[in-house]
Amino acid sequence: MFRGIIELGGVLNYQSNKNLITIDYVIPSVNVFLLDQVYTLSDAVREYDLLLLCRLNDEPIIILGECVSPDNIENEIAKWFRDTRVWHTPIVWIKDKGTQLHTPLNLNISTTHLRSLKQCLDEQIQAYSNIYNIGIELFNFLYYIVLYLTPNAACRLVDILLNSSIEASKTIETTNINSYIINRKLLRVYIEFIHSLSEVLKIYRKMYSEDRYIIENERLFKDRLIEELNKLKKLEKSFQVDTNYRLKELFDSLSKHISNRRVLLLIAPQITYPLPSEIRKSIEESGVRIPFTISYRLERMFIEALIRIIKKIKELEPCSLKTYLLAINWRGTLEDLKEVYRRSVQGLEVISTPNELSKLLGSEFFDYVIILVLQDYGKREFINVLNMVDSFIKKNNKRGVLIVLPEIAYVPQSGSRLVTAVTYIRKEVLSRLLSRALIYEMPLQGED
């Protein structure tokens, strides 16, 4: 008979009973995003309700879990079909007695066997929700690696993730990180948590490398397992405080610099090429009208988001605000892109060469410079702009900020499904994307 024992206090319960599955740890709402769809990603390819780290007679195993909702059986059945498109570790379907979900491949258990699972899951949802407030992408990647990749490939990637987290935690202590977003201590714990979870998943997925987990001595192995799980549980508790990004503090800081000052806003947007006229014609011939010069994403989403950002800056009451599009070396079809921005954003002027920027910085007086990058831009041109602006700020003893908004953000959401992906939807840009932005205050440290 299947028996589930929840031991989430950190002390493992070794039972002599054979055929016993002991659940050591539960990760709630595991969202797996396809890694090769970063530009258009809008939804997880699959969300599993839980990932159970268990031992079957003391041998570590991982099992995915699905809590069947009796109210939405159609949706649950759809998951079965979706699962044929990926391969993964076994899924145990957890359902109440009498729930009408009868499909093949039925590895399912009744909730009565997992009495404490519900309570434990609720606690874990809260803990992980707080953790995910700081960042999700590395977790997404970790889950992808652990659930889908071969042990060899998974091990190599988890090892470099571990290495990255070790190096990162060293620097948190010694380097000045932009402070108003989140406190340093919490950031350190966050990195330690990723590290610890990677170590734990490595054990349960049985990824052994570089002699780190040679299980010669069973006792030592169990000790290590206990040690890692205890560490993970301890770290989890650190996230009971508010982990939300302090966007209010960011706006307060901006307000301090912007209010009653002369502000220069430089916008470096994602370069999107117009549809070739042949394709446009071909689409239109099939009866689909294309009202956009470049693309729906650019003209509906990015530009509306940009207008919202400019509005927010204006609300901070600058003495004057000059807004420029950085269209450096935009030639050929990119002239159309320039036109779209000019037409759509009121008062927008265009800088087409580094000389024009140089002249602007030399001829007009600005107290504060905001460089806003939407997604991506030509690196060489941008670095040139960044260095010019930074020099101007240093030379004139001014201040500024560099904000790079990501292409997409993974953010926590309320409810049992913890993670969602958002992109440049109007109101999301300030509440969600900004919390995942790369922000540097200027002047930058280092050379001019």
């Binding site: 992408e137 997604q375 990501p406």
Partner: protein, 510 residues
Amino acid sequence: MDVLLVSKIKATKCTLRDLSINVCGELLRYFLNMASGYTISTTTRNVDKLELSLGYVISGNEVDKAVYYVELGKSSIYSILTGLEYLGTTNIHSPLRFKLIRVVRPFIEVATPHILTPAHLSLKKVYSIETEGEYNEFTKYINSNKLCCNIGDFVKEVAGIVRGDKANIIDSLLRVVALYMTALLSGIHRYSLALRQIAFQSVVYLYLNLLEESARNKIDLSEKQHVNNAISTMLTTLVTDTYIWIPYVMLKKVGAHGSELIYTIAANPLREIIHKFKDKKPRDVLCMLEKFNAYVKKEIDTLLVKIIKDVTNQNLVYGSIAVLERVVNDVVNKIRDILSSFYRKPIKYESLIGRYVHLIKEVRCRCSTYRLCSERTTNDKVQVLLTATEQLNPLIIDLIIRYCNELIHEYKNLSVLIAVTPQTYFNYIVTKEILQGMCSESRNINIQGYIIPTTEGLVSKIIALGIVGNINKKSLAIALIQGNMIVALPIYIELRKILGSDISKKVMFI
């Protein structure tokens, strides 16, 4: 004509004088591994014969990819290939897209239990089969255009060229072929285009290494028929697929549904020719594929002969950037000429390796700055930093290694630090695996990856701090910063702090 097969991969167990390698089993293992995006690995010890022909078939009103599998003896490859077909048609982790067709000998009656089950299934699900006679007709095009990669003979010839660790080099060779097969059989998604780029550039990397190794050992590479044939076949079919099949499908799919591919910069050259496929029927496209592929093969065969002659006669220093530049420029110019002549329209950019030409120019330019601005460095330990993109492949690292070889003398260890994003894990693994086998043993090259997110500024920033924290100002030879701004900018900004005025000498952007 409803079928066009453009490339045949033949492999058998191969025994060399001092080394026995199951070429066939290893090739299939690597193919399975890469084609599944590293989600499957298996041993294929018992597979000792393999014949696959890759090409195109008309399916419905479309030209689809196809793999013809020839049953040879009692091997269990078929079940593995059926798994690959699942990857190609259903599994969403894999980039593959193809239809599997089994070439069978006639059976009088199926009476053995282990054959009966697949026979029943084959009839129930009506799997595609073809008779040997028909298949032989289809492969006439392959034979007449010398489009066969006989991997066993390829390996034997390579073993005769190289003097170093043969097993490692052969391992890399098989991985390059597996990567080629994966790329050729993938769909038209943005990453599939990147796969074609990394496969094409990896084939060039393999060829370049063989070219230099044969020149060093005074072996005439032009006499190595199987090497030239295999390289030429791989390059040809990737060019054909990229410049005929992709724009054709792009037009069909984009016209119908819109696609992210249309916004991909690497697809720019394809956008220039896409209209040529308007109103083309599947048979017209198959005819275009047939003509273009034969034309490209002939041109690339001639090009390879010319490259061998030029490189051996022009006193170029082997292992230098000059040799690499010569080979890459010749290849790019040839593709441009072919396209201009075929489409009667000059092509501004080139998709498969065009971006690499700019990279060489940048590095060359950096060499002269480095020479002018700094003393020649002699370091025990040299570091190189790269941010990985979906185009990362061994040829890119090779350029950086050549740069270090030319400018920094007598170094013993080269550490290549790569900032890997979740989207580039495949590139990191493939590049490391291929390089490990091909790099000379005389210098220790250590590749170290770091995972960095592309959508979270704060986390990227602290990981960038960690990566740059490992950089020693004096040891750093070059940092190549490319890709997503959330990754590239924190690394640049942190490097700026430690490099000071050396930043312009040691950091480059693409």
